[in-house]
């Protein structure tokens, strides 16, 4: 049968209508592939019948389309969840767990680092403090040494008195500059609210003149304190006085005394 006869037989219309059996369908599909005119005829028949039926269609709301789409989206999502869910879900949870663990780990790492950083900061500050402290101590030591080594200084030893027989002190006095230093290493730390006061004494008659307080007694490890200059002292004494010092010494609280 040639294609013209085939086309005119009307079987292609039935093919488009879906009224043929499988064998006929396969045969015509094959013919349509091999013969362009058969294919074109089929397409024209289909177009005619689609146009005809479309022309009779009453109004179809866009809502219908949206309903179908939502039904499909819903079913597809559900189906996909069912088929691949366990893998996906487990992977998802595992990933989430790993992620959380990771965050936790990083957080503790960060915390550790922060602590370490804070520790190093405080270590650094402590080091700086000790360096400064050492520098101060060094300077103090240097000035103590300078005082002791200065040939122009005379050293006046002060002996323990009635209230503190074990106490002792030394006064370094520069006759030229009249500068006075007190080495109070032999004195016990003063009790709370009390302070040592240094006196330059004239002996005849006994006239005490205050030349300073040994304030911040424990601050200097060497217990070496500068005092006010004096030109004509015959002796030096140290008494324990209330904080702020006294106008005249309380002789019953005389810790040390020494004649020049």
């Amino acid at each position: 049968m040639d294609t013209r006869e085939y086309i005119e037989s009307g079987i292609l219309e039935l093919y488009v209508y879906g009224l043929l059996d499988d064998d006929q369908n396969v045969e015509i599909s094959q013919m349509a592939k091999n013969h362009q005119e058969v294919h074109d005829e089929i397409v024209s028949i289909e177009k005619a019948i689609v146009d005809l039926s479309t022309g009779f269609c009453p109004y179809l709301s866009a809502e219908t389309f949206e309903k179908i789409r939502s039904r499909l989206a819903l079913k597809y999502e559900k189906a996909e969840r069912k088929s691949s869910s366990n893998w996906g879900a487990y992977m998802g949870w595992a990933a989430a767990l790993l992620f959380l663990l990771g965050i936790g780990y990083l957080y503790t790492e960060l915390d550790d680092s922060n602590i370490q950083l804070a520790n190093s900061e405080s270590d650094k500050i402590k080091l700086q403090e000790s360096v400064v402290k050492l520098e101060i101590e060094n300077k103090q030591t240097e000035s103590v040494l300078a005082v002791i080594r200065d040939d122009k200084n005379i050293m006046v030893p002060l002996g323990g008195q009635a209230v503190a027989p074990q106490a002792s002190a030394k006064v370094y006095w520069n006759r030229e500059t009249q500068a006075v230093y007190v080495d109070a290493a032999g004195l016990p730390d003063p009790p709370e609210g009390m302070v040592y006061q240094v006196w330059a004494l004239k002996l005849n008659p006994l006239t005490p003149t205050s030349i300073g307080l040994l304030e911040n007694f424990t601050a200097d490890a060497h217990r070496m304190f500068p005092a006010d200059a004096t030109s004509d002292a015959e002796a030096f004494g140290i008494t324990l006085e209330p904080v702020g010092g006294s106008a005249s010494p309380r002789m019953e609280q005389l810790y040390t005394l020494g004649k020049v």
């Binding site: 005119e8 037989s9 009307g10 079987i11 219309e13 039935l14 093919y15 488009v16 209508y17 879906g18 009224l19 499988d22 369908n25 396969v26 599909s29 094959q30 089929i42 397409v43 024209s44 028949i45 289909e46 177009k47 005619a48 019948i49 689609v50 146009d51 005809l52 039926s53 479309t54 022309g55 009779f56 269609c57 009453p58 109004y59 179809l60 219908t64 389309f65 309903k67 179908i68 789409r69 039904r71 499909l72 079913k75």
Partner: protein, 176 residues
Amino acid sequence: MTQDDLLVMISNKDKKAFTVIYDMYSKSLFTVILNLVRDREEAEDVLQEVFVKIWKNIETYNDQKGRFYTWILNIARNSSIDKLRSKGFNNNKKNLSADSFVHLLDDGSRMTNRIDTIGIRDFVKKLKPKCIQIIELLFFKGYTQQEASDELEIPLGTVKTQNRTCIKDLRNYLQL
């Protein structure tokens, strides 16, 4: 858009393919469904089912066994008949409405929204009553040639040629 273009989209799992199919064929299928079911709401339900079936089974379509349109047309007819059965109709095609598809035009309220793109009313006036009957039975209702021959009381051998003549008239009118 040709069938081949459409099949490429489908095989590429292009999500636009669904919209294309719907735009191209939903009205045609709805007319087929409504002509069988004869109830607008139920026809819309069936149309939804049909498109859900089409999309879910799209990978089973085999172009060696027929046109894509033919495949979805069969789904539409079968779903409509399932709907009728569920309502108590038996499978006897004689129980289907005696009115042909042209009666779908009778409902004036629905017509107001119709865009009469092919001048369908003019065409119906010109179309031979015999053609309306034969297209109604073969295309819209899916009768076999034998069933159509019995129904129309015409020789079995002339069913497909008479149908072809009618489709030729249609194509002439549509200039296809």
